[in-house]
Amino acid sequence: MRRLGLRSVAIFYLVAILLGPLAMVFYRAFEHGIHPLWSSLTDPNTIHAFRLTLEITAIAVPVNTIFGVVCALAIVRRRFPGAGIVNAIVDLPLALSPVVVGLMLFLLYGRSGWFGSWTSAHGVQVLFATPSMVIATIFVSLPFVAREVVPTLRELGDEQEQAAHTLGASGWQTFWRVTLPSIRWAVIYGVVLTTARCLGEYGAVAVVSGHIEGQTETATLRVQDYYENFNLTGAYGIAIVLAVISVLVLTAMTLLKPKESA
């Protein structure tokens, strides 16, 4: 009986906080039929917003994947002084508000910022343009690959790498033939998490983008724009597209997890 009680509480909480609202947003999106939904989603500015989100993600994910793997290797294999500090800095984006991240970049690349005067003198628009949005997205999604790869590398140990080295393999050969195949599931899992974070970023991008419709508006900013202009169907429409992507991400995560431990 007690077991049944706890189970009901847990399920009720999940439904009330998470699943109920999610089901409702799907209902609301289709409430007035498919036509208003479709026209909101095929609006040129909406399409631009989705394309911009994908472009930013397409840059940020590879950058953070390479950084994450190299960083994990440095932390685990090269016990250098300050590895603890590097570890802590990598974790910082998990604990720091994305708005604060946005403000930092705003100050750095703004007109009176350390980099801002230099970039504007060279005719490069960083703030209120794609470059700052890419940098902001890289910052907030920085930890995910490294955090997945570090424990896997630790568990793996370096015996096989040592063996490869003894047999005359170069550093690159060892990495491609020995290390990478062993950590690939952790890397893929990290990439999935990074992708989800990039697609969904709001706070940091909201600060640095300037929110210019059809130019610096990402999918998440478009949701807010539609909502504030009382186009609720449009807001729900983008929301469910993003939610479907999230569910796909979640499915990928669930499928990848057992393989990781195998």
């Binding site: 609202p21 999610l22 609301r28 190299v70 508000s97 708005v99 909201a206 998440t220 979640l250 995560m253």
Partner: protein, 254 residues
Amino acid sequence: MGFVTTFLSVVVLLPIAALLSASTTEGWHQFWSVVTAPEAVASLKLTLGAAVIVSLINAVVGTLTAWVLVRDDFAGKSLMNAVIDLPFALPTIVGGLTLLTLYGPRSPVGIDIAFTRTAIFLALLFETLPFVVRTVQPVLHELDREAEEAARSLGAREARVFRSIVLPNIAPGILSGVALGFARAVGEIGAIVLISGNVPFKTEVAAVFVFNHIQSGDQNGASAVAVVMLAIAFLLLLAIGGIRYLATRHERHA
């Protein structure tokens, strides 16, 4: 090695330095007067208060959910397990919007909490739901059940078994999950911005305060509150590191 430090310096450390420098250009005194201005204090109080309440609820419900996922068995359990991570995968702005459809002006269940403080709590509960579950679940899974059986056969009641045997083991997991969730709650904006109304002194959280003051050109105000949020983030990471260290040291000595 050089790549890692250079990358971190450019992407993370330089922006932090820019913030610290901007918040103190007009001196420590100026920083203090900006950060203690009534609106800033109100937003920080609201944020920390909400984070504390949400953390307490997460500690209880998260532990309970982890317990159900590890010790209970029923049809649909693996689905429930997968769904827990949804707030991690779902964009925060979508999270806020979904809550608004069920608990907003056109609520089908007759609960309209839009533009109130309750909305902030709800949004934060939504976003921080996975943290405690995911830190407690693996510990509970690994926990040796023989000690519990022994306590039961010696006549201990369930509550006593939980308090004296299970809880001490999962406490580090609960604490680090709470700390991660607390950090997330302090910095959250996406899930809150649509649903809270963002009224200064009433429903304006710290992240929204920073955002609004950047928009209105008050960089001093925004920077000062942002520095406080940065300090909180650092303290929480330190605390999580400390909890992890103590938990593993205990293991080594046992």
